[in-house]
Amino acid sequence: MSAQAQKACLEVQDATRRFGGLVAVNAVSFQVKPRSVTAVIGPNGAGKTTLFNLISGALSPSSGRVLFEGVDVTAEPPEAKAARGLIRTFQLVKLFPELSAVENVKVGCHLRTRGGLLAALLRPRWARRMEAETEERARVLLELVGLAATADQPAAALSYGQARLLEVARALAAQPRLLMLDEPAAGLNADESARLATLIRRIADDGTAVLLIEHDMHLVMNTADEVVVVDFGKKIAQGAPDRIRQDPAVIAAYLG
C-alpha cells in the first residue's frame, strides 16, 4: 500500500508537440503523485491546454511519453485512457446541450455501468436497478457541485459557471483515478469558486489525483500541493505553491 502510494499516478516524460514551426509544448516532464493536487499555470498561449491534450490522448505528442500508473499510454486513444481512469474536462466546455443536467452526468457513468442493446430492450432486473443507481448517483453528484436545483434543466440553459461545474460533476461520474480540469474556475463567481476549491481538495483526499490548469491564483494557492509553471511551451519552474510565488523566473514570466 505504502509502496504504491509512492509510485507516480501520472508521469510525463519530455512531452513535445509541434504545430508546424511552433513548438507548443517543449520537452515538458513532471509527475503527479496519488492523492495530490497538481496545478499547471502559465500565461495564455503557454501550451497548457496542448499539454492536457497530449496527456488525455486528444492529440498525439511529436515526441515524449505519457505513463499512467506505470503503464506507457502515449499512443492510446482518449476512450482507452478514460477507461483506465484518466478523465478530463475541457477549457471550452463540451456538454451535451440537448440533454438535461442530470442526463449529462448519467452519460458520465458510462464506464462504471454496463449493458448494451439487449439490456436496453429487455430491461432485466439488474439493468433496472443499475438505472436507478445511475440516476441517484447523478443527482448526488449534482448536489455535490451545487447544481441540484438545475438537475432537470437542459444543459444549454445553464450559466457559464454552472456549465463548468456540470462538466466537473460529469467527470466525477466516471470515478476517475486522475481528474484533469482545464480552467475549472473560469466564469465562476466567488461562491462557486470557493465551493470548487473545497471540492477539489476533497476529491484528492478521497484518493483521486487532480491535475488542474488554472488562472485563479487564489484557487491554485488554496488547493495545489505542487505547481508546474510553463511559459512558451517549456516548464520553467516546479515546486510547492509558496515557493513558486517567490520564484524569480515565474514572476518574470507573469510580468514580462
Binding site: S56, A58, P77, P78, E79, A82, A83, I87, R88, F90, K94, L95, F96, P97, E98, L99, S100, E103, K106, V107, G108, C109, H110, L111, T113, R114, G115, G116, L117, A119, A120, L121, R123, A127, M130, E131, T134, E136, R137, R139, V140, E143, L144, G146, A148, A151, D152, Q153, P154, R170, A171, L172, A173, A174, R195, T198, L199, R202, I203, D206
Partner: protein, 332 residues
C-alpha cells in the same frame, strides 16, 4: 458546502420524479392523433387502409433512420439499400425458394445488418461528410444491383406473387388484418426505440451526438457506438422492406429509389427528429396529407408543398415538438 457529507458519494436523498398531468397529456396527444388516423382507416378499409398501411411501413423505416440521425446525430442517405436487401431477401426466398415468411425475413435482416457492418465499419471511422457521401453511394448501388441482376431480381420487371404474411395458418391478406399487423409492428418498433433512448446505450448515442470529444473523454467508444446505431437503423430498414413486399405482394427497384430517401427525410423532420413518436406521426401526416388535398386536383402538389413548408416554419422541431410545447419541460 456547509452540510455536505464527508465522502464524495454520500447516500442519496432520493428525488422523486415529478411528472405533471400536463406532461402526460403532451406525451399522449400525438399518439392519440396517430391512433385516430389508424382507427379511421381500420373502420373505413379500402383505399384509406392502403394509404395508412404504407404510412405504417414507413414509420418503421423512419424510426430506424431516427436512431441513426436523431439519437446519434449522424447522416445517412443510403438506408434504402437496407430496405432493399430485406425486401428482395423476403421476395426471392419466398417466391423462388419456397421459404416461409419468417425465416426469409430473418435472413434478409441478417444480410442487411451484415452489409451495414461491411459498409459502416470503414466509413464510420471517417469524420464529417465522408460518411454521408458513402451512404449516398450505397443507396444508388443497391438500386443499380436490383436493376441489373436480372437473373435473381428480374430487373425492372420486379418480382410479383410474394405471399402475404400468415400467422398459424391464417393469411393476413385483408385490409384490416394487414393494418392490425402493421400497427403491432409499429408499436413494437416505437417501444424498442423508447427503451433504447432511455438506456445506457441511448445515453452513449446521445453523448456522441452532443460532443464526440466529450464522449470519448468519458470512455465512450464513439466509432463502436456509431456502428451499432447504423446496424440498428439497417435492421429496422430491412424489417420495413420485408413488410412492404409481403403487404404489396410485389417488389421492383423503384420501391427503394432515392425517392424513398427523400420521403423518409421529410417524414423524420415533419414528425420530429430524435423523438419516439416523431417518425410515426411524420409518416402518417406525410402520407395522408397529399390525399386530403386530392380534391384540389391540379393544385394538389402545390398545396402539399405549401403545407410542408408551413409545418417546418411553425414547428421547426417537428409535430412532436409542437405537442411538447404544450408542456414547459424539455425532453429528457
Amino acid at each position: 458546502m456547509n452540510s455536505s457529507p464527508s465522502t464524495i458519494l454520500p447516500k442519496a436523498v432520493s428525488v422523486p420524479a415529478r411528472v405533471s398531468p400536463r406532461r402526460h397529456l403532451a406525451q399522449a396527444a400525438p399518439w392519440l392523433a396517430a391512433a385516430a388516423v389508424v382507427g379511421y382507416a381500420l373502420v373505413v378499409g379500402g383505399y384509406p387502409a392502403t394509404v395508412v398501411g404504407f404510412a405504417l411501413i414507413y414509420a418503421i423505416f423512419v424510426s430506424g433512420l431516427n436512431i441513426f440521425m436523431g439519437l446519434t446525430a449522424q447522416v445517412s442517405f443510403g438506408q434504402s439499400a437496407f430496405a432493399a436487401i430485406g425486401g428482395y431477401g423476403s421476395a426471392i426466398l419466398t417466391t423462388q425458394y419456397d421459404w416461409t415468411w419468417a425465416p426469409a425475413m430473418l435472413a434478409g435482416l441478417a444480410a442487411a445488418v451484415a452489409a451495414a457492418f461491411v459498409i459502416g465499419y470503414p466509413t464510420l471511422r471517417l469524420k464529417g461528410h465522408y460518411l454521408s457521401m458513402a451512404t449516398l453511394a450505397i443507396g444508388l448501388i443497391a438500386h443499380e444491383i436490383a436493376v441489373q441482376w436480372e437473373s435473381v431480381t428480374l430487373g425492372y420487371l420486379g418480382i410479383s406473387g410474394v405471399p402475404p404474411i400468415d400467422i398459424a395458418g391464417f393469411e393476413l391478406s385483408s385490409d384490416r388484418a394487414t393494418l392490425t399487423m402493421l400497427t403491432v409492428c409499429v408499436l413494437a418498433t416505437a417501444f424498442a426505440v423508447a427503451r433504447i433512448r432511455r438506456s445506457r446505450l441511448g445515453r452513449a448515442f446521445a453523448g456522441l451526438a452532443g460532443s464526440e470529444d466529450a464522449a470519448r473523454a468519458l470512455g465512450i467508444d464513439v466509432a463502436r457506438y456509431k456502428l451499432l446505431s447504423f446496424l440498428l437503423a439497417a435492421g429496422f430498414a430491412s424489417f420495413s422492406g420485408s413488410l412492404f413486399v409481403h403487404v404489396v405482394g410485389y417488389v421492383s427497384p423503384e420501391v427503394f429509389s432515392l425517392h424513398m430517401v427523400i420521403l423518409s427525410f421529410t417524414m423524420l423532420y415533419v414528425g420530429g427528429i430524435g423523438t419516439v413518436v416523431g417518425p410515426v406521426i411524420g409518416a402518417l401526416v406525410v402520407s395522408v396529407l397529399p390525399e386530403t388535398f386530392r380534391a384540389l386536383r391540379d393544385y394538389q402538389d402545390l398545396a402539399y408543398g405549401a403545407a410542408l413548408i408551413l409545418l417546418l416554419i411553425f414547428a421547426p422541431r417537428g409535430l412532436a415538438g409542437l405537442f411538447a410545447a404544450l408542456d414547459t419541460r424539455r425532453k429528457p
